[in-house]
Subunit: 182 residues, 2 copies
DNA sequence: CGTCTATTTGAATGTACTCAAAAGCGGTGG
DNA sequence: CCACCGCTTTTGAGTACATTCAAATAGACG
């Protein structure tokens, strides 16, 4: 459990064992019941979390109450910002904004860790934005299922559609068209 | 010129005068002719730049050679990642990746500066993604012209359309519809 | 003035949505 | 074991949103 977090940190930045321990101790284990929010619409996000088991979707409700999925997060992924919703009884470790600031002060490399992580997610989001600007829904679905096949297997088509920005009915039609091609 | 960069840094993070000087000295002033690229398709981005005068658009070419505008940057904005194109003879100061890494090592607060900046742009991009998932082109255009009215005045409709992810013909029709409403 | 580019307009077409209904599927209780 | 429930997926018809292509118009500039 903590091991996963240790490994994840090591992927991004070189910390001494002591620093890693010190930082990881800020994180409190949490688990959450199915269909439970960890952050409600309108709340300000005061934490950062790391998923150790299960699957989150981070989304936003549009004016009609429909979900728009910003991103999914499964094991070994970070969650931050915006409103979050869970399924499949996920488990995560959480650091408060306060403790994070503490860590920034005491462990300089943590600043680097979060800079690198943010940059990476930012690049990924830019790619998605480009996809959205230029690709048709068919292609976005194909790309998504290929790039995140493992994740896609754990999602309903309704959830995938909310991520791709299309109706689930239309996704169904896309799936049919693709299956006929083969 | 450098003053603008000084001010911009101060907005994000508290540096001593000496640190600010030290950091700003890494930046080399540059200017570029109209229609000139500072980074070509396929190049890896090895710098970070700060616009002191003029207007950039940072974009990507799709498979048909059409521009997809990732973002615009005018005075007091940063540019990084992906391919960049300019208009209006912009002026900017540039820091190489190498020098940036040097700054990270020598001035701890710079790490914080880039973390904060990246987080902010990331949040902005997430908002744009949400807009894209949920809003119709009409609304995206209205929101864009309100939110970035100053910027919008300096852009052609073709450029705005490439940012909004629609054809410029369609944008023209949207504009007509809106003008009739009033 | 001529040239180049941006903007507008129209017609035909394609992409995606809405609404409603049917079919499939897993669980749960009798 | 079956019947029923809730939820997901599929299907179809009609409609709205957005594109393409081609052509006309308008502006900017040497």
């Amino acid at each position: 459990m903590t091991t996963l977090l240790h490994q994840n940190i090591a992927k991004h930045v070189a910390l001494s064992d002591r620093e890693t321990e010190q930082f990881c101790n800020f994180f409190k284990p949490q688990s959450i019941r199915k269909k439970q929010f960890i952050l409600q619409e309108g709340d300000t996000c005061t934490f950062e979390a790391f998923v150790t088991k299960g699957l989150f979707r981070v989304y936003h409700l549009d004016q009609n109450g429909f979900e728009q999925v910003l991103y999914f997060a499964m094991e070994d992924w970070w969650i931050t910002d915006i409103d979050s919703f869970t399924n499949q009884r996920p488990v995560y470790v959480l650091i408060s904004k306060q403790d994070k600031d503490l860590a920034f002060e005491n462990i300089p490399a943590i600043e680097k860790l979060f800079r690198i992580m943010t940059q990476k997610t930012h690049v990924a989001l830019q790619r998605r934005m480009i996809d959205y600007l230029g690709k048709t829904a068919d292609q976005r679905y194909i790309d998504f299922s290929e790039k995140y096949s493992l994740l896609a297997q754990r999602l309903s088509n309704i959830q995938i559609a909310a991520y791709l920005g299309i109706s689930h009915e239309f996704l169904s039609k896309i799936r049919k068209k693709l299956s006929l091609k083969k």
